[in-house]
C-alpha cells in the first residue's frame, strides 16, 4: 500500500511542475527601446495595429489575443492590451491642418479622411483618464488601488461597462508615474471572465520595466498614420495634355516608379512582372503566381468588356503581398490617400487575421476594379449607378480562377443571401407586410445610391448588393444574354450613361455658376432684398431632393436603354431572373 501511494505522488509531481510553470515560461516579452520600456505579454497575445481601436499619438504599443474569449453566445469577446505614454511636458504638436477651420461643427463636417485622422491623432491629452473619457464609450471608473511596481508608483483602476451592453465588460488599467510622465497599460475583459483573467492582467502589470531608470521614457515623435502617395501622379499641366501624349507620360512615370520599387525591395522579397502588374512578394511562389494570374484575369476581362470606354491608359499597378499582419508591421496602422493619377499599391496578406483564405483574392479584385475604372473614366465610375458598380464587383469577386481563366458563378454568400431575401419576402406577403428585400428589377436600375440604403431594414444594403450581382450575371451569362430584349443591354446602358454624364457635368457647372452670380448680385442688394433672395433660393433647394441630379440622370438613361420594354416585358424578365437566382 505504501509503495503504491508513494508511486502516485512521485508520478504527479513531475507532471504538475511543468504545468504550473508552463504559462509563465511561454510569456513573450515586448521590448521597445525607443520609448524605453519592456513588458511581458499575456499568453497568446500578439502585436496588432493600434489605430484600429483608438486614434491617438499617445499609443506606444497595441496587442491582441489571437482569438478572444468565447462569450458563450457563439462569438468571441476581443482581449486587448494597449500601452500609452503621456509625457508630463508636452510640446505643441502640429497637426498641419490644411482646412481653414471655419467650421467648428466637429469632424463630421470633414470630407477629407486625412484631416479626420490628423484631428483625432493630435488631440491633446494630459493623462489616460482624459483619453479614455474622450474616446471610449460606455464606462465609468471603479475601484482604485495604489501600489508600487518595480519602484514606480502605480494606480490600478477598474473600468466598468454596464449600460446597454450585451456583454458587460470589466477592464483594468495600470497607471505608472515615471518621473512625472504617465505610462498606462490597459487590459480588456468581459465581466464574467474577469476573475479568471485578473491574475494574468496583474502579472502583466508587474512585469513592466523601464529600460533606463534614470532616463525614463520617451514619447516617439510619430506622424499621423496617413500617407499621401504622389508617385506617378500628373502635374496640372500634364493633365491638360492631349490624350495620346498624356498616356505616354503616364506610362513613362509608371515605369520609373516600378523600377524604384524593385530597387527598394528589402531582403527576402521577390518580384514578378506581368503585362499589367508588378507583384512584390514576401510569400511562396505558388501563392504569388495565383495572385498574379487573378490580377491579370480581372484586368483582361475589364479591358475586353469595357476597354472602349475611353482612350485613357490604365498604368501598371503594384501588388505587395505580406505573409501576415505581423509581417505587415507598422504599415498595418493607418490610411493611405492617393493623389489623382498616383500609382496604386495594393497590399495583401496571405494569412489574414480572420483566417479567410480567399480574402486576398477578393481584395485584389475589388481594388483592381476600382483602379481600372478610375483611370479609364473617373467621371463615369463616380456617376455609375449603384446596381452596376455593385453588380460588376460581385460578379468579378465571386469568380473562381482556373489556371489563368476566370470561371463565373455565384458564390455561397450570393446564393444564401438571395434565398433568405426571397423567403423573408414570401413570409411578409403572407402577413400583409411590405415585401421589399428583393426589388423589382425595373426599380433596381433606377435607384440612386441613397435609396439603396432604404427599405429592407438593417440588411437592405446586402440584399441590394447581391441582387445587383445576380442581375449582372443574368445579363452577362444567364438567360438575359440570349433574350432579344436584354441582349447586350449592359453595353448599351453604359453608352447611354456616357452621353448623359456630359449633360450632368454641364448642369453641375451651370448650377455652380448660377450660385456664384447669385452671391455676386446679393452684395449690391439691400438687407431686405437679400433676405428675400435667400428665402427664394432656400425654397428652390428644398423642392429639389438631395440626389435629384442623380435621379434625373438615371431616369434619362433608363429611357434610352430600356425605353422600349413594356410592363409585360419586365414581368417576364423579373420571373426569369428570379428562377435564375434560385427562387
Amino acid at each position: 500500500m505504501r509503495k503504491k501511494r508513494s508511486l502516485g505522488l512521485s508520478f504527479l509531481v513531475p507532471l504538475a511542475l511543468p504545468l504550473i510553470l508552463a504559462p509563465r515560461a511561454s510569456a513573450k516579452v515586448y521590448v521597445d527601446k525607443k520609448v524605453g520600456f519592456k513588458i511581458s505579454l499575456p499568453k497568446d497575445f500578439q502585436e496588432t495595429p493600434a489605430t484600429r481601436y483608438l486614434i491617438t499619438r499617445y499609443c506606444v504599443g497595441a496587442f491582441r489575443h489571437k482569438k478572444g474569449i468565447p462569450t458563450g453566445e457563439g462569438d468571441y469577446y476581443p482581449l486587448y492590451m494597449l500601452c500609452f505614454l503621456f509625457p508630463a511636458h508636452q510640446e505643441k504638436t502640429v497637426t498641419s491642418s490644411t482646412t481653414r477651420e471655419k467650421s467648428d461643427q466637429g469632424v463630421d463636417d470633414l470630407q477629407d479622411l486625412k484631416e479626420l485622422v490628423r484631428r483625432f491623432f493630435h488631440r491633446p491629452y494630459r493623462n489616460f483618464d482624459e483619453l479614455a473619457k474622450d474616446q471610449i464609450k460606455g464606462f465609468y471608473f471603479g475601484k482604485e488601488n495604489h501600489t508600487k511596481i518595480n519602484g514606480w508608483d502605480v494606480t490600478i483602476k477598474e473600468m466598468h461597462f454596464e449600460k446597454d451592453r450585451r456583454i458587460k465588460g470589466l477592464w483594468l488599467v495600470a497607471l505608472y508615474n515615471v518621473h512625472g510622465d504617465q505610462f498606462a497599460v490597459l487590459m480588456t475583459a468581459p465581466e464574467n471572465k474577469f476573475r479568471k483573467l485578473k491574475s494574468q492582467m496583474l502579472r502583466t502589470f508587474r512585469s513592466f520595466k523601464v529600460l533606463n531608470k534614470k532616463k525614463g521614457l520617451y514619447l516617439k515623435d510619430v506622424k499621423p498614420p496617413v500617407e499621401t502617395v504622389t508617385e506617378g501622379s500628373l502635374t496640372k499641366d500634364e493633365r491638360k495634355l492631349p490624350v495620346e501624349k498624356r498616356n505616354k507620360v503616364i506610362l513613362t512615370k509608371a515605369e520609373r516608379v516600378l523600377a524604384k520599387k524593385i530597387e527598394d525591395l528589402p531582403k527576402g522579397w521577390t518580384h514578378m512582372r506581368t503585362p499589367h502588374y508588378l507583384i512584390l512578394s514576401h510569400v511562396d511562389q505558388r501563392f504569388t503566381k495565383k495572385i498574379a494570374n487573378q490580377a491579370e484575369a480581372i484586368h483582361h476581362w475589364l479591358d475586353k468588356e469595357f476597354g472602349d470606354l475611353s482612350l485613357n491608359v490604365v498604368p501598371p499597378g503594384v501588388i505587395r503581398i505580406y505573409k501576415d499582419i505581423k509581417d505587415l508591421g507598422d504599415k498595418a496602422d493607418g490610411w493611405i490617400v492617393y493623389r489623382p493619377g498616383a500609382i496604386l499599391e495594393i497590399t495583401l496578406l496571405k494569412q489574414t487575421e480572420s483566417g479567410d483564405r480567399k480574402q486576398a483574392q477578393w481584395r485584389v479584385t475589388r481594388e483592381i476594379i476600382d483602379k481600372w475604372f478610375t483611370y479609364k473614366n473617373e467621371d463615369l465610375w463616380k456617376r455609375m449607378p449603384a446596381w452596376m458598380t455593385d453588380g460588376i464587383v460581385q460578379y468579378l469577386s465571386s469568380a473562381q480562377l482556373k489556371g489563368r481563366r476566370l470561371v463565373f458563378k455565384p458564390d455561397p454568400e450570393e446564393t444564401t443571401t438571395l434565398k433568405e431575401a426571397f423567403t423573408m419576402d414570401k413570409m411578409a406577403r403572407k402577413k400583409g407586410m411590405p415585401a421589399n428585400r428583393i426589388k423589382p428589377l425595373k426599380d433596381l436600375v433606377k435607384m440612386t445610391k441613397r435609396q439603396t440604403y432604404q427599405g429592407g431594414g438593417f440588411y437592405a444594403r446586402y440584399f441590394f448588393f447581391y441582387q445587383s450581382g445576380s442581375f449582372v450575371r443574368f445579363l452577362l451569362d444567364g438567360p438575359g444574354k440570349r433574350m432579344r430584349k436584354t441582349k447586350g443591354i449592359l453595353k448599351k446602358y453604359i453608352q447611354a450613361l456616357l452621353k448623359e454624364i456630359v449633360e450632368v457635368e454641364k448642369k453641375v457647372k451651370a448650377e455652380q455658376e448660377a450660385e456664384r452670380q447669385r452671391q455676386a448680385k446679393m452684395a449690391d442688394m439691400s438687407e431686405e432684398e437679400r433676405l428675400k433672395a435667400e428665402d427664394e433660393e432656400y425654397r428652390r433647394r428644398r423642392k429639389r431632393a438631395v440626389d435629384a441630379l442623380q435621379k434625373e440622370m438615371l431616369e434619362k438613361v433608363f429611357k434610352m436603354t430600356f425605353g422600349t420594354l413594356t410592363d409585360r416585358d419586365w414581368e417576364i424578365i423579373q420571373k426569369k431572373w428570379e428562377k435564375f437566382a434560385g427562387k
Binding site: 505643441k92 467648428d104 464609450k137 466598468h160 402577413k431 423642392k543
Partner: protein
C-alpha cells in the same frame, strides 16, 4: 444666465480640483450651480475680478450665489478715507461689518474647513462609482448632480406618476421593482457612462432591466424636464399597455412628446401637460415650407421606428386631438382601447417581431369610431391648418429655428431668428454661442466680437466666447492676442479636452 427654476438653490455641482486656491484666491458659486476657483480674486463694485495666468475675467455679483474669498481684504478697491482709517487701526471689512484681523483669520479657517469638506463631498459624488442613491415610492434614483438639484427632479417624477395615474390607471408590478433613473452631471458623462447616442438627450431602456438615463443641462433646465417627461411617459405606457404589445410609433412618440411639453411649478408641485414644443413646431413649419407634408394614414400605418420629423408630426397630432373638445374624449377612449382591449386583432410589429401591435386596418377603424370621424382626409386637412395656426413665441423656438436656418445655409434668416431669441430671453447663452460662431464663419468679425462680448457679460467663465474672440484676432493678424485668449480659455476650463483642442487648432494656423 437664466434664472434658476428651482427655489432655494444652494451650492452645487462640479468641484474642479481637490486643493483650495492660493491665499489671494477663492471660490465663486454661481446661481446656475457652477463653482469656479481662481488663483486671485479682487473685489470691485458689483463684481469680482478673477485673475488668471493669461488674463482677467470680471464676474458680476448678480450671477453669483456666494463668493468665498480666502483673503477678502486683498487689493480691495474703492475704499473711502474712513474705511482706510479703520484698516489702519487693524480692522478689516467682512460681510458688511468691521472685524479684527485675528477674528477674520478664525472665521476664514472655519469657512475654509467647511468649504474643503463641501468640495470633497461634491468631488467624490461626481464620480459615478460614488454616486448618490435614493429611492422613492416608485423610483430608484442614481445621480451625480448635487442633491439640491436632484431633489426637484425626484419630486416631479412622483408628481408625474400622480398625473398619469389619474388619467390612466397604472400599476408597478413587484417583479419589475422601482424604475431606475440615472441622472448625469453633464452631456459628456451621459454619452460616456450612460452610453447615450450622440444627438439624444435621454433614453428609456424598454428591455429589462428597465431604466431611464438623462443629464441635467444647467443652461436649459426646461429642455431637461422636457426630455425626462418624454422618456418617463414611455415607462408609464410600458406599464399601461398590455405586455408584449407596442403602440404604433405615432401614438407612442406623439404622447411622449405631448407630455414632454409640460409645465412644472416647483412651489405647488403641479404639472400641466400640453404646452407647445417649440423646437418641434419650428421643424414642422420648415417642412411645410418645403411642401413636405406627412400624410396621416401612412403615419398611422407605419410600423417601424419613425424619423425625428415624424416625432414632430405625431406630437402635433396628439396636441390637436387633446386640445379640441370634440376629439379629446374620443382620443382618450382610443388610447385606452389600444392599450387594454385584448379582442383587437394583432400581428408582429415590423420594428421588432418579438412584439405585437394592433393591425393597422383595425387601428384606423377604431380611431375613426372613437373620434366619430368618417374621413381621415378631412381630419388631415384640419391637422395641417392647426399646425399653421400655432406660433413660435419662446426663446427655444427661435433658437431652434435659427439653427435650422444655419443648417440650410440661410445665414440672413438665421441672424434674424438669433436676434429675436436674444430679445425674448437675453440670458439664453446658447444663442450667443451659436450666433457669434455664425458671424465669424461669415467673416463678420466686428459683429461676431460684439455678440461674443455680450455672451461674456452674461457668462464670463464660458471658454467658448474667448475661443471665438481668439479666432477673430487670429484672422486679423493679432497672433499674440489670439494666443492669450486661447490660454485664458484653457485657464477657465483646464480639464476640458475640447477647449484645449480648439485652442491648439487656432494657434496652429
Amino acid at each position: 444666465m437664466r434664472p434658476s427654476i428651482f427655489p432655494g438653490l444652494a451650492v452645487c455641482t462640479l468641484a474642479l480640483t481637490l486643493s483650495l486656491p492660493a491665499q489671494k484666491g477663492g471660490v465663486l458659486v454661481f446661481k446656475d450651480g457652477r463653482w469656479i476657483q481662481a488663483p486671485e480674486i479682487h473685489v470691485e463694485k458689483d463684481a469680482y475680478r478673477l485673475v488668471y495666468p493669461h488674463g482677467q475675467v470680471k464676474v458680476p455679483t448678480k450671477l453669483l450665489l456666494k463668493a468665498v474669498l480666502l483673503d477678502p481684504t486683498a487689493q480691495m478697491k474703492g475704499l473711502s478715507s474712513a474705511d482706510k482709517a479703520k484698516m489702519e487701526k487693524g480692522l478689516v471689512p467682512y460681510k458688511g461689518r468691521w472685524v479684527s484681523r485675528s477674528r477674520l483669520a478664525f472665521i476664514l479657517a472655519k469657512e475654509k474647513k467647511k468649504l474643503r469638506a463641501k468640495m470633497e463631498e461634491i468631488r467624490r459624488h461626481s464620480q459615478w462609482r460614488d454616486r448618490y442613491k435614493e429611492t422613492t415610492r416608485h423610483f430608484a434614483f442614481e445621480y451625480t448632480i448635487p442633491p439640491e438639484i436632484a431633489r426637484n427632479y425626484i419630486n416631479f417624477f412622483e408628481a408625474y406618476w400622480k398625473v398619469f395615474n389619474k388619467r390612466w390607471r397604472i400599476r408597478q408590478p413587484p417583479r419589475l421593482g422601482k424604475l431606475k433613473i440615472c441622472i448625469y452631471n453633464n452631456q459628456k458623462d451621459f454619452l460616456r457612462i450612460g452610453n447615450g447616442d450622440p444627438g439624444t438627450l435621454g433614453y428609456f431602456r424598454f428591455v429589462e432591466p428597465l431604466e431611464i438615463n438623462f443629464y441635467h443641462d444647467r443652461r436649459d433646465v426646461q429642455l431637461t424636464l422636457s426630455v425626462l417627461w418624454h422618456e418617463c411617459n414611455h415607462y408609464f405606457m410600458y406599464l399601461f399597455v398590455q405586455k408584449g404589445v407596442n403602440n404604433p410609433s405615432w401614438l407612442e412618440e406623439g404622447l411622449a412628446e405631448y407630455f414632454g411639453g409640460s409645465k412644472w411649478d416647483p412651489k405647488t408641485r403641479k404639472m400641466t401637460p400640453g404646452l407647445i414644443q417649440e423646437g418641434r413646431l419650428v421643424a414642422l413649419h420648415d417642412a411645410m415650407d418645403g411642401n413636405e407634408y406627412q400624410k396621416l394614414e401612412p403615419l398611422m400605418r407605419q410600423g417601424s421606428r419613425i424619423s425625428s420629423i415624424q416625432y414632430a408630426w405625431s406630437w402635433s397630432l396628439c396636441h390637436m386631438l387633446f386640445s379640441k373638445k370634440k376629439y379629446a374624449k374620443g382620443f382618450n377612449r382610443f388610447i385606452v382601447k389600444m392599450a387594454k382591449d385584448k379582442t383587437l386583432k394583432k400581428e408582429p410589429w415590423p420594428g421588432n417581431p418579438d412584439f405585437r401591435w394592433v393591425k393597422p386596418d383595425v387601428q384606423i377603424a377604431l380611431f375613426k369610431k372613437c373620434l366619430k370621424i368618417k374621413d381621415l382626409a378631412a381630419l388631415e386637412k384640419e391637422w395641417y391648418a392647426y399646425i399653421k395656426k400655432m406660433k413660435v413665441k419662446g426663446v427655444r423656438g427661435y433658437y431652434e429655428a435659427a439653427l435650422d436656418c444655419v443648417r440650410w445655409k440661410r445665414p440672413i434668416r438665421a441672424g434674424l431668428y438669433f436676434k429675436k431669441a436674444m430679445e425674448i430671453d437675453p440670458n439664453y447663452i446658447s444663442t450667443y454661442e451659436a450666433y457669434s460662431r455664425l458671424l465669424y464663419r461669415q467673416d463678420k468679425y466686428k459683429e461676431a466680437r460684439e455678440i461674443a462680448q455680450k455672451g461674456i457679460e452674461r457668462d464670463p467663465i464660458n471658454p467658448t466666447f474667448y475661443l471665438v474672440l481668439a479666432r477673430i484676432e487670429w484672422e486679423k493678424g493679432s497672433k499674440q492676442k489670439a494666443e492669450r485668449l486661447c490660454n485664458l480659455a484653457m485657464d477657465l476650463a483646464p480639464d476640458d479636452v475640447d477647449v484645449r483642442w480648439q485652442a491648439q487648432l487656432i494657434l496652429e494656423k
